[in-house]
């Protein structure tokens, strides 16, 4: 066969043009598939679904922080006083509720559970909202003493009808603060509204001189939290 005729022949392509796209897509997919066993769990543990953020849990009593904090101006530490003294902030004893509610709203049907608990001596069974794993030894008192505002970790509880977890409470989130060099950026996200009526002695404390005065050391060693 003469060469000329061969060269003139137009051979129809074996694969259509779009097969290139398919091929590229397949390579991408393969890479994704290989990465997904690592990436997907990493995404999952960071998702709010796993961290239980933004779930306004139902509680045995429809306790409204908005009313107590904003309307009545009660400080956080009035009820959660052990945050200053203990590792646990705790939920107030029934007697703390009854301290006021023997006098006001003492007939309210909303407070029936509280009265029943107080007079029968059975504790109120609250749902725990903020929780770190058992192998994490978090201490409230030292954070409070070093001037960390309640809202830094718990969000503006005074604006919540039902308490929900705002921050992820993951180790990465803890380390974000603990690794941050002193005074360079405030640990409180600026988007959050300033606490209107909560324990807020710390407004502006993360300006450099205050951080220096208070010697806020940022422990990042493992046994700071894991023992």
């Amino acid at each position: 066969m003469p060469c000329k005729s061969l060269c003139r022949t137009t051979v129809s392509p074996l694969y259509p043009r779009w097969s290139n796209t398919v091929y590229r897509a397949a390579i991408c997919l393969l890479v994704l598939m290989l990465a997904s066993p690592i990436v997907l769990p990493m995404l999952y543990v960071r998702s709010t679904y796993n961290t239980n953020q933004f779930v306004p849990w139902a509680q045995p009593i429809d306790f409204d922080h908005r009313h107590h904090v904003r309307d009545d101006g009660i400080e956080c530490l009035y009820c959660h006083g052990s945050a200053e003294r203990s590792a646990n902030a705790g939920v107030p004893a029934t007697s703390v509720c009854m301290g006021c509610h023997t006098q006001i709203w003492n007939q309210s049907p909303l407070l029936e559970v509280v009265r029943r608990s107080y007079f029968s001596g059975t504790p109120i069974n609250w749902k725990r909202v903020h929780q770190v794993p058992d192998f994490v030894y978090f201490n409230h008192s030292v954070h409070v003493a070093r001037g960390i505002d309640c809202v830094t970790c718990h969000g503006d509880v005074g604006a919540m009808a039902r308490v929900e977890q705002v921050q992820p409470l993951t180790m990465g989130w803890c380390l974000d603060c603990h690794r941050r060099s002193q005074g360079t950026s405030p640990p409180r996200p600026p988007a959050l509204p300033a606490p209107t009526n909560s324990w807020s002695a710390s407004v502006g404390m993360f300006a450099k001189p205050v951080a220096h005065d208070r010697d806020v050391t940022l422990l990042t060693t493992c046994t700071a939290c894991h023992r």
Binding site: W126, F135, C222
Partner: protein
């Protein structure tokens, strides 16, 4: 994978005479040699650990918060409280400070204000908290095995008319309140008699004093003032009534700060090396029956009389050296509790002869009530005569511990009415008609006297977990009080209308100044009596058949009453490192003569009683003698206690309960040809020529103070220096004053939620102790020198474990700790393989998961309860460091010297373990590191351990070879 430590029963329960002693197959090769099984285990363990940690990460907040209805003002959830109380052992109180988390006691520590503690404890105090949470504690009163009302029982007792033939059998008591109540009982029941019984009998101490001084007295020793101490079979550092205090006193005199310091010289004559004997400068192996001859020979030499005692040349040399030293220096002679009254009398005479009375020894009236009152034999006699109508037994367990010749079980059956009260059921309580649960001391009010007579308070940490009564309440019921209340009785006695003073008293735990002053009574000894004392003992038969048995309370379970405490069962005993059982301890020569070696089972016969025990050979043991530990072989106790070891109580002769001589009791030891592997934690006791635990005698040390210089200092390295930042934590351990008593081992277990693995686990080297005591012995010709080296994570600055962890689960902290992060550990065990000190422990099984409900309450909430498949190790009690840091940060100050005390340091009676910051100049920990004799273990590896040791210096008599 057949072993689950769910049930810690290692041996079948039952009568030791009928059942085979050990289950078949126990001497088969251990399965850890089976490589395939190990690989399977490893894979399963790692897989499960991985799954577990993933599951933990994904846990949803399912927990609830249930706050109290009314919060007590002193209680803040998460803030532990400490209360002063006391633990009483055979009448003598030791002051304690007990930590309670959310009103559940978790940790026992010593009360620094208490003269018998000075802040330290022994292993029994540390472990006693576990008995409180024993799942097998009885829940209520029983009548013939049927539950009954305790209140009604006490009421009916209170309403009884005067009872003829009423006998009480109690442990020795020192409670001032108890003494009053006994008088009240006697007033209501005029014929009531009180007998005192403990298997560890101290009567001979009082008899010896009575013989010399005309009345029973308690000798008060001053080991801190003595230059020469001669112990006649007295383990005064670990096994006597005031040992915790005496350990501190002894160490204060002994510890060298500079090579020029003076240190005391310790002579010990005893059958089997004890913790005291392991610190001796001149240890003499002597059979118990030989001790009297030794004492008489020393006295004869001191008085310049011709020594007509037939002594072997070695004993002759020892007594000559001891007598010469006693005469030269400020001496002190101590006789052991188990020695007969003559030895105690001789010790008093020696102390008088060398002028020790008034300097190193003083006397007080005994703290215990009626020290020479009736005992078990008087009670037995009365039962045989038919004079006992009602027998009330509190705590004592004579059915288990009485000599076989007494046959107490048969006697007990002859008593019409029997009432028994105990914290847990025991052999005696199961044979009594009525059973009254006794409150644990951590649930009780009460008072007692310490060894020196100081009144100590007992206050409860927790409401009684079950229906129970205290001993004062029981006595008050017999005195006619229908609803006895110990708290009320104590208030009546101590409050004096001043509630504030009462609060202060409880806070302090002791009545200040209530100890009587010591005095020196005149010797009232007739010439004839004296002659009888110093006369030579009749010669004993010396044939090969003549073998002597020495009985000693167990260092772990005492007389058996603590056998239900798994921490103590698993505590390696100081000299032989045996756990979960007892052995016949023999000298190498005796074992050779019998043709037996370690783990060979021998049959021991004394009279009609026979016991089979595996042998363990202890160099330094007296020849022709076997030491047998009491307290094992319980057959009707709690499941942990039952069937562990063999009960040797039946071998004890009536006349001399502490030892049995061949001639007197027909003692025979014969091999059975069987073997039974003892659960030991240490297999080799030599250093194989390596300088692991260097020792020197005082002269060598003075000539060359830096004899450990080659064991200290940095070697060239490529690795970066990690000594940066402040503070830097470190530990110093003085092996010179460590007696190996193991209080630290149990304290560590209690503080750090260390699990128990059972005898089988120990046999497979799976014990979980974070802190062990390595004991090395060296043959020095005539004597065996021991050195105890507490071995825990060394917190190396160049830690080999840190380089090999693939997941960074072990890291170095800026303050010098080698951290272990359990939730990150995947259980590869590379770190353990790379640790030259072998202080890392692996959770092969879920040792903590089957923890029964009440036992969980003991867990320290500040330490992770580790799951299966993770590596764990000593953390220098990092939870205590971090809480001290938080305390200091909140108060805006630095951590003070002495603020952080590790659990082992806190428990150590001699103060051998010191912990602190390297920056704190002037503290004991730092000062000791500057001494010439400090060294690092395995220094040549350049791991740069943060734990420094001080070499053991002994002070032998140059005239003794």
């Amino acid at each position: 994978m057949t072993h689950r430590p769910r049930d810690l029963r290692v041996l079948p329960a039952g009568d030791p005479a009928e059942d085979p002693e050990f289950p078949p197959g126990v001497d088969e090769p251990p399965s850890e040699l089976d490589r395939r099984a190990v690989m399977k285990l490893l894979a399963a363990g790692a897989g499960l650990a991985g799954l577990g940690s993933i599951a933990a990460c994904m846990e949803a907040p399912s927990k609830r918060i249930m706050p109290r209805v009314v919060e007590p003002p002193e209680l803040t959830p998460g803030v532990p409280l400490e209360y002063a109380t006391s633990m009483v052992l055979d009448g003598f109180a030791t002051g304690l400070v007990v930590t309670a988390h959310e009103a559940r006691p978790t940790k026992v520590e010593g009360n620094p204000d208490h003269p018998a503690s000075l802040g330290a404890t022994n292993q029994l105090h540390q472990a006693s908290i576990l008995e409180l949470y024993d799942p097998d504690r009885p829940r209520g009163a029983l009548e013939a095995g049927v539950p009954t009302s305790l209140e009604a029982l006490l009421r009916s007792i209170a309403r009884r008319a005067p009872m003829p033939g009423l006998w009480f059998l109690l442990h020795p008591q020192s409670s001032p309140l108890g003494a009053d109540l006994i008088d009240r009982v006697r007033a209501r029941h005029p014929t009531a008699r009180f007998a005192w019984y403990s298997a560890v009998d101290r009567r001979s101490v009082y008899q010896g004093a009575r013989r010399v001084f005309g009345r029973p007295l308690e000798p008060q020793y001053r080991f801190d003032l003595a230059d020469v101490i001669v112990s006649l079979d007295a383990d005064f550092l670990a096994a006597m009534a005031n040992s915790v205090r005496w350990s501190r006193d002894f160490a204060n005199r002994r510890r060298l700060r500079t090579p020029e310091d003076r240190m005391s010289r310790l002579y010990v004559a005893e059958p089997c090396p004890s913790p005291t004997g392991s610190l001796a400068d001149a240890a003499l192996p002597a059979r118990p029956a030989e001790i009297r001859t030794l004492a008489a020979a020393i006295l004869a030499r001191l008085e310049g009389r011709a020594d007509d005692h037939a002594l072997s040349p070695r004993h002759e040399r020892w007594t000559a050296a001891a007598a010469a030293d006693l005469r030269a220096g400020r001496g002190l002679v101590v006789a052991g509790d188990r020695q007969p009254a003559e030895v105690h009398a001789l010790a008093h005479l020696i102390n008088a002869a060398i002028g020790a009375n008034g300097t190193t020894v003083a006397f007080t009236a005994p703290a215990v009530i009626d020290p020479l009152g009736p005992g078990l034999s008087e009670l037995a006699e009365e039962i045989r005569r038919g004079g006992v109508q009602t027998l009330v037994i509190v705590e004592a367990n004579p059915v288990y511990s009485a000599p076989a010749a007494l046959d107490f079980a048969a006697l007990l059956a002859r008593v019409p009415e029997t009432i028994c009260s105990a914290v847990t059921h025991h052999e005696t309580s199961r044979r009594c008609r009525w059973f009254i649960p006794l409150a644990h001391y951590l649930e009780s009010w009460g008072d007692a006297r310490a060894y020196d007579g100081t009144i100590s308070m007992i206050q409860p940490l927790i409401r009684p977990m079950y229906q129970s009564a205290t001993l004062p309440e029981l006595l008050a019921a017999f005195a006619g009080t229908e609803q006895p209340d110990t708290h009320r009785m104590l208030l009546d006695r101590y409050e004096h209308g001043d509630p504030l003073a009462w609060q202060r008293l409880l806070q302090r735990g002791v009545v200040t100044g209530s100890a009587p002053r010591g005095f020196v009574p005149p010797i009232q000894l007739t010439a004839g009596d004296r002659q009888a004392l110093v006369a030579p003992t009749p010669a004993e038969p010396t044939g090969d058949a003549a073998i002597e048995l020495a009985f000693a309370p167990s260092h772990a379970v005492y007389d058996g009453r603590f056998a239900g405490i798994s921490w103590l069962q698993e505590m390696p005993k100081p000299i032989d490192k045996i756990t979960w059982g007892n052995a016949a301890l023999l000298s190498p020569a005796t074992a050779e003569a019998l043709g037996v070696g370690d783990d060979d089972v021998v049959r021991i016969t004394a009279g009609k009683a026979q016991v089979e025990l595996p042998v363990f050979v202890v160099p330094g043991h007296a020849d022709r003698c076997a030491t047998l530990e009491l307290g094992y072989g319980r057959w009707a106790a709690t499941p942990t206690a039952e069937g562990v070891g063999a009960n040797v109580y039946p071998l004890r002769p009536l006349a001399t309960p502490a030892y049995a001589t061949g001639a007197q009791a027909g003692v025979r030891i014969e091999p059975t040809g069987r073997r039974s592997r003892l659960a030991r934690t240490q297999e080799h006791f030599t250093q194989y020529g390596r300088d692991l635990a260097p020792t020197a005698d005082l002269e060598t040390y003075r000539a060359q103070p830096d004899f450990t210089a080659h064991l200290w200092g940095d070697q060239p390295t490529w690795l970066p220096d990690k000594r940066h930042g402040t503070p830097q934590w470190a530990m110093t351990i003085d092996t010179m004053i460590c007696s190996g008593c193991s209080a630290c081992v149990v304290a560590c277990q209690a503080e750090n939620n260390v699990p128990v693995v059972g005898a089988d686990g120990v046999r497979r080297n799976r014990e979980m102790h974070w802190l062990r005591i390595d004991t090395y012995r060296e043959d020095r010709g005539d004597r065996v020198e021991y050195v105890h080296q507490p071995m825990l994570c060394q917190h190396c600055e160049m830690a080999p474990c840190e380089y090999v962890c693939p997941v960074y689960a072990t890291q170095h902290s800026p303050d010098g700790l080698n951290e272990m992060i359990y939730n990150r550990c995947i259980g590869t065990r590379f770190c353990s393989n790379n640790c030259p000190y072998k202080v890392r422990r692996f959770n092969f099984f879920d040792y903590t998961e089957p923890t029964p409900a009440p036992l969980r309450l003991q867990y320290n909430p500040n330490v992770t309860v580790r799951a299966r498949g993770v590596m764990e190790k000593c953390t220098y009690c990092v939870q205590r460091i971090r809480s001290a840091e938080i305390r200091a940060r909140k108060a805006n100050r630095e951590i003070q010297p002495g603020e952080v005390v590790t659990a082992c340091q806190q428990a150590c009676p001699t103060g051998a373990i010191q912990f602190g910051q390297l920056q704190h100049e002037g503290t004991e920990m730092v000062e000791r590191r500057k001494q010439a004799r400090h060294y690092a273990v395995l220094h040549d590896l350049d791991t740069r351990p943060r734990t420094a040791y001080l070499a053991k210096i002994s002070n032998p008599n140059p005239r003794l070879p």
